[in-house]
Symmetry: C2
Subunit: 437 residues, 2 copies
């Protein structure tokens, strides 16, 4: 075949980058588990009617068909690849509600697909790492304060700073209602465009699409301008002179989210009244997260509270979730060379091969070391030891083992060489596995 | 929405089962890394012309299209979901050959998709865990002996016995050639049907499709009957009186595979001359693995040596690979209840909540324990402690922590309760994480 070329939007990493990606995913998973989230995975496909419920994103769905679908078997027609993990999770909860213990804390780390036009920070295939807490009938608000703390822990080791902008749908909707707007959702959708089109255009759109007077539009824009790193936003909103019971609820809930984060993840959160999120199903706190200095890449961790996404007959399962855009974060970090790995292979020790007939003896040495948790490979072919050391050097393998009556191991970085026994020798902890810095 | 129902062929697990699946995948990954295999992942999609190169499986491919593909942008037309990890890996090696160090040892654990009719042991979405070693120009035969040992280590902890049936294409092809058959590949394809259609029908097909005389067909069937747990098959084949240089090569290579496994994975391998593998691209050792007593589920770990799969212009990258069908194995083990998990959540400690206003204090206790690697969640709501203990019990959480001036921790299985400090208390190692038995 002719040499293949990459597919735009479908990133693939070299082994060293994949080790970094795995390390990041492992840390995220480890943090989610420390916070008591249980793992699930959902299938990659969902019925199209599920995928199209959500509006905004539906046009980007990849639809499947079997190459030679038989007429009699159409069980897999009408399927598409999931574009996020929230819609599949809501479906999973409804399907398995009888077998789950509520409140149900779950994490889910999987690839998603969207047929978006590829650009910096936007892929067609990407990893999402989600946590959600879902309950039956009612869901206490403290979970809305808990999730940002979990995400802060999960991302703590990365060499960039994150700022999570939070708002509350009740706050915005209550404010618009208190202002006298009859269609608060329409106002919300317009405010969501603020960063894209600017305040003047938004004022016009508020008049056209949400029936706002000039004074009402000005008040909406004033609200959207409020942004504080603590709960002082409450006074700033009150100063606008609008009152509404739903607004009060929203203010109280959002202040609690800010206060909890102030203790456990200081500096992470900003209350930001212009955060709206395009999706209809959010009903409480909404979150968007940006990498400091890389805001143009868009949000790298978004989510919110949803009260009616998972609903079937009389059963309602309100939830709150946050979704880390792992691929987008890694794209930024790989792009700036901010993460490096000590070697692009797990191998810690190369067992040198004096002659091909020594392979069984070398395999025994390798097996003894592996039995004690040390990653080993045996040299591919007998050759001068200098050549075998170069083989290790090229791969960043730190140690070469020389078999024989008196076995020796050489740290090829320092040149130090010492007698060693595969039943007892141990490398420095820092060399045992590839390390990410 | 109405309560959704499962999709046939797309298995989804409950959290406890997913913890088991993760544990199995982690062990496989850990073993692959101990043997020096580096990780990669390839995108889920491949160009259709790549997927259709392989023949046999191509009719089962899922084809993708974007729901609203724009005329100007057809960059993702003609894509399908990969049905294995070998074809994508060969493509990846060609695409990145300038950046990889050869011989390249890689593992790859990902989902694959096939539009097969779902049945016991056959899914439409499933996990494969692959190892391959690929080199430039030539590949030493010792790798064909090494891979079964790695797989034996990877599957060692599972509560079933595996038997890997191995053959060598050179052996079969050399034998057919030595017999005087002009189209050895045709004979190979017929022998591959032996288990399905039986010897009488195969004899007829050998005559029809491979031009075999009655004596030649009988010799082919005699060869297919040879099966030994050690290298004694060499004498059995020689006794059939056929000679050919390629046959000699195949006998020698297969004997070496058996001898290596006899030392490092005793009882795993059977030399089995009826193993043919349907795929054209194999050129040396071929492998198929069965769970003892569950042979009807089909092979759970297959592969072989391929000399020309990854080829571009003058560059050839011969390789050898084995692919573990993780989902098929788990399907069998879940079906028989052979694997259980100690609890369906990572949580080791539930911090009880005396009153909602104690939540910040309880969060601090949880954070202290998490900082020392212990998975913790705080109770969802203030309630009588008896109710909170029941909450833990229902989830299999072994410990409940009682905050206060004198903090205490209770093992709710034994009822033992003791004063404890979150800065120093440690659970028994066996309770730290869910354990799979």
């Amino acid at each position: 075949m002719t040499r293949p070329t990459p597919l735009s939007g479908f990133p693939e990493w070299l082994p060293g980058q994949r080790i970094i990606e795995q390390t990041v995913l492992d840390r995220i998973r480890g943090t989610f588990e420390l916070h008591g989230f249980a793992p699930i995975e959902t299938r990659a496909v969902e019925p199209m009617d599920q995928l199209l419920r959500k509006g905004e994103t539906s046009k980007e769905v990849y639809v499947l068909r079997r190459l030679q679908a038989e007429g009699a078997d159409s069980s897999d027609s009408g399927l598409g690849l999931h574009f996020d993990l929230t819609v599949p999770f809501a479906r999973y909860v409804l399907e398995n509600s009888g077998k789950l213990a509520f409140p149900f804390r779950r994490y889910q780390i999987q690839k998603c697909w969207r047929g978006e036009r590829p650009q910096e920070g936007r892929y067609r295939e990407f990893y999402q790492a989600d946590i959600d807490i879902i309950d039956r009938e009612t869901l206490p608000n403290h979970y809305e304060a808990e999730l940002p703390v979990v995400v802060a822990d999960a991302l703590a080791s990365l060499p960039v700073r994150f700022t999570m902008h939070v708002n509350n749908r009740k706050l915005s909707e209550g404010f618009y209602r208190g202002l006298g707007l009859s269609d608060p959702m329409a106002a919300l959708r317009v405010i969501d465009k603020l960063d894209k089109v600017g305040p003047d255009k938004v004022a016009v759109m508020l008049a056209e699409q949400a029936g706002a007077s000039e004074a009402q539009a000005a008040a909406c824009l004033k609200l959207a301008d409020i942004s504080t790193p603590d709960s002082s936003f409450v006074d700033a909103v009150r100063a606008l002179g609008v009152t509404d019971p739903l607004l009060d609820e929203g203010l109280e809930e959002l202040a609690a989210v800010l206060d909890t984060a102030a203790e456990h993840a200081p500096g992470l959160l900003v209350a930001d009244m212009r955060i709206a999120r395009g999706l209809d199903y959010y009903t409480g706190t909404v979150y968007e997260t940006f990498i400091e200095g890389r805001e143009k890449f868009g949000s790298v961790c978004s989510g919110g509270r949803y009260d009616t996404l998972a609903q079937s007959g009389n059963d309602t399962f309100p939830g709150v979730g946050l979704s880390i855009g792992v691929s987008r974060i890694l794209g930024v970090l790989f792009g700036s060379g901010a993460l490096t790995v000590s070697r692009p292979t797990p191998t810690c020790v190369l067992v040198a091969l004096p002659a091909e007939e020594d392979r069984p003896a070398c395999n025994r040495i390798a097996a003894a070391l592996r039995g004690r948790g040390i990653a080993v490979e045996v040299a591919p072919a007998a050759a001068k030891f200098g050549k075998q050391i170069k083989f290790a050097e090229k791969r960043g393998i730190p140690f070469v083992w020389f078999p024989g009556d008196e076995q020796q191991v050489k740290d090829i970085r320092s040149g130090e060489q010492a007698v060693a026994d595969p039943a007892t020798w141990t490398p420095p902890v820092a060399d045992l596995r590839p390390t990410v810095a």
